[in-house]
Every structure is written in C-alpha cells, then in structure tokens.
Symmetry: C2
Subunit: 133 residues, 2 copies
DNA sequence: TAAGTGTATTAAGTGATATAATACACTTAA
DNA sequence: TTAAGTGTATTATATCACTTAATACACTTA
C-alpha cells in the first residue's frame, strides 16, 4: 500500500513480508534491471529509513545483504554505492535466477506437472495477455 | 533431515520452514500425485503427531488447511479421508500451479528475465541432466 | 463401556522481526 | 578545528508467528 520514490529508487512496502526483505528485493531488482545505474549513490541508511518511515536498523539489514550480494559497495563516511562492475550484476542475476528456477521446478514436480504442461500454460496465458493489454 | 514413512505417506521434516507448512505441502503433493489413493484414510492427527514427534495441534493446523483445499474430508469420530472426487484434486492442482507460476513469473520479471531466457536455461539444464542422471 | 477419532481452549516458551535510543569511527567541507 | 553526514554497533523492549503442553469435549465404532 505504501509507495515511495527515493532518488531513482522506487519502493512499495506492505506488511505481507518482512520489511528488510521487501527493501532488499526491490533494490536488487532496480540494480539488476539497471533502473539505478552502476556506480550511482544509493540513498543513505538514515535517509531511506526516514522516507519509508521505518527504523534505520531495518534498512541496515537490507543494505548489508546487498553488499554480500556484490551489488553495492559501502564507503564509511561517504555512503553506499551501486557496484561499478557489470560482471557482478550479471553473476548475481544468474545465480538468483537459477535459485528461483530450481525452487519453481520443485514446486511443479510436487504437483506432478511436467515442463511441457508448464509451457502450455504460459503460452496460453501470454496469448490471453497479448489480446487484452 | 528427519525422514518418516506413515502409512502410504512419506514425510521429510526439517527446520527450514514451519512444521505445519511442510506437512501440508507434502500431503498435498502425495494426494496430487496419487501416491495416496482417492478415498484412502489419512493417518490420524494423534498418530501422525506421534510418528513425527511433534504436537497434535501442529498436525491439526495442516489437516484443517488440507480440508479447506478440498483435498480431504474429515468425519468426526472416524478420521480424515482423501476426497473421493478427482475433480477436486484436479482443480486444486490447477489453482496452486497457477499461483506458483504467477509468483515465479514475477520473480523473473524482477530480474529482467524474459520467458525466452527462462526456456533457454531450462532446456540447457534438461540436456545436462539427461546426460548425467 | 472403552478406545479411537476430530476439535477446542488456555498457558507458556522461543525466535524472527522491528523499534528506540545512544554511541562510535570515518569522510567531507566550512 | 568543527560540524554535518556517512556506515556501524550495542542494548533494551515489544510484537507476532510458531510450537509445545495439558486438558477437556463430542462423536463413532466395536
């Protein structure tokens, strides 16, 4: 329900998931999709906390994970910056995609659905969407 | 880590997720895949709790959700039985698959990956698996 | 009547999440 | 030197989801 633009980042926060996870996911997405450029400065911990009206510790938790992902670099006293390495972003994307895909395939397997079943469903859906919007 | 056979049901429980969710998922899977037949009796709440060494209330929680799914019918004083309606199982499968797929597509979108990218990855992976196991 | 079902209630403990308040170390610019 | 803005760390507190424990009730079957 909560929608916020902070610098070049856009956040949409609700209570369906832990706050730090939502910040993490949405920041990851923005970097992976290039919505925030390589080398750009991220909002400061305090600024983002204030804008989103949450605790700085919660933002910190998300930012620390971003750095572990290799997506950001933190410079004490200066701020948090998006990595300048396109390779880091690319390998992060690949790794996370692989994780999502594996987990998804397990879910499908648990329902007894084959890859062919899935492809049919998706193509059907894409056809429907193509006709509507 | 914990592996248990209870009647025709197989459970593999760890601490990565809530216990009731694991029981729910694995029971759903067994019914969806026909590993337990339509109309068959499920383990009783107390029996399953004892076998898995967890609290009966936790099993209850999973069983109540199974009934909401339309996958089981409970008869007071007699026990819990897998539905006799193949249509119920089919529609459950379809609904849950759609939910999983939608959520998966959102994840992929958040990484900026197209459906073509995903298909390539899967086919690559299937080729690799075909050669190994 | 006894044993086995599902169900409900109350109490308690644990861990993840989030907030609050405060302090420290570092960088930059006035 | 100083002040303001960075990331970081610590301690305390609160809430909620999950789980356990103990107990009791209603129903069915043998």
């Amino acid at each position: 329900m909560e929608e916020q633009q902070v610098g070049s980042l856009h956040f949409q926060i609700d209570f369906s998931q832990p706050l730090y996870e939502q910040i993490l996911d949405q920041a990851r997405s923005a970097i992976a999709k290039g919505e925030i450029a390589l080398g750009d400065k991220m909002p400061s911990v305090r600024e983002l906390a204030q804008e989103l009206r949450i605790n700085p510790n919660t933002v910190m938790r998300a930012y620390q994970e971003l750095e572990r992902d290799g997506l950001t670099e933190k410079r004490r006293g200066q701020g948090t910056y998006v990595t300048t390495s396109p390779e880091h972003v690319a390998s992060f994307r690949t790794a996370l995609a692989a994780k999502y895909i594996d987990s998804f395939m397990e879910q499908m397997e648990s329902l007894g659905l084959s890859w062919d079943d899935i492809e049919k469903y998706i193509h059907q859906k894409q056809a429907a969407q193509g006709g509507n919007g």
